[in-house]
Amino acid sequence: MNAAACYFVNGMESETSAIARGLRRRDPDLLDRLIEQYQHRLLRYLIYLSGNRDLAEDLFQETWIRVLERGSQYDGKHEFSTWLFAVARNLTIDQMRRKSPLSLDGLNSDEDSAPLDPMDSRPSALEVVAQHEHADRIGAALVSIPAEYREAVVLRFQEGLALDEIATVTGAPLGTVKSRLYRGLNLLTPLLKGAQE
């Protein structure tokens, strides 16, 4: 490992260790900072996982409560985001199980789910409409594919997680993650063909 890479890895380790120490202390300032830092990524993951924005917002809050309660379980050896997504995933599955005994597949498409709202970044009215349509189209395409494929695709291509991190979050073997990505993209491609950015 060269010096730059070594410095990067050590820097990342010290940051994750600092997070782990703060979580053990239940440091509210650290939690405030983490909530702000991971707000968009976590909410987006929960929206696509649950297929419903209102439910995702509830789960967002519950996830941080669980992070507070079980922060001592984070060892600081892995990326915090990987652990956070795993916590969120378990909560979502628990929630879906309570909602319906079918659950793991209950993460699948929900016809009545609320549309997925894009970020309010104050563009023009026309841009807002276009953004909504674009987001709706992608949201509709995503919720129409099986939940396990959707989850892999979202974690990889939206959240930028590495394959082994996705395997950790989902508890699936690496080969299964690769296969889910491949199948998920194959299902999405015809649905999103020609989608404008």
Partner: protein, 160 residues
């Protein structure tokens, strides 16, 4: 060219850019794409889908973030109070245990002397001693049961 080769090429297209994607795989893929129109189209379509996925600007609202931060702070405060209560209960138990260990032999002697002084038989003053020792604990238990214990919150949920 067999379909396995195209299948392999398409799997590599999806995994492109992932960690562990070897240079040799990239070289092989590039060579394949130069000769294979369907796989090249697949690669372009896949790239477009990935770009579309990354282009969705979905964000948490500031109010959600504020609500969450407030809730987390309140919950942290609740957990801290609970920990303090547990600590106090622990200290109280230790104090009571120590006090009991010190005073019980003394009280036994006092009851024995009182029994002799009053002229009652041993089982009688021993029973009195038993009631004297157990009564405070019984009283506290009844009080805690009627009021709810201090180890639960307002909703009666047990914190651990």
């Amino acid at each position: 060219m067999t379909s396995d080769i195209h299948e392999r090429a398409r799997q590599l297209i999806v995994l492109r850019g992932a960690e562990g994607f070897a240079d040799a795989q990239e070289t092989w893929l590039q060579a394949h794409l130069q000769d294979c129109d369907p796989c090249r189209e697949y690669a372009e379509a896949t790239t477009q889908v990935i770009r579309s996925l990354r282009s969705v600007p979905m964000a948490a609202t500031p109010s959600l973030v504020r609500r969450t931060q407030t809730r987390v702070r309140q919950h942290a405060q609740l957990l801290r109070q609970h920990r303090e209560r547990l600590w106090m209960v622990g200290v109280a138990c230790a104090g009571i245990g120590f006090s009991a260990a010190v005073t019980l032999p003394l009280m036994w002697k006092v009851f024995s002397w009182l029994g002799a002084w009053a002229g009652v038989s041993s089982p009688v003053w021993e029973t009195g001693f038993g009631v004297f020792v157990i009564a405070p604990a019984l009283l506290v238990s009844v009080l805690l049961l009627t009021r709810g214990t201090h180890l639960t919150d307002e909703a009666g949920r047990w914190h651990h």
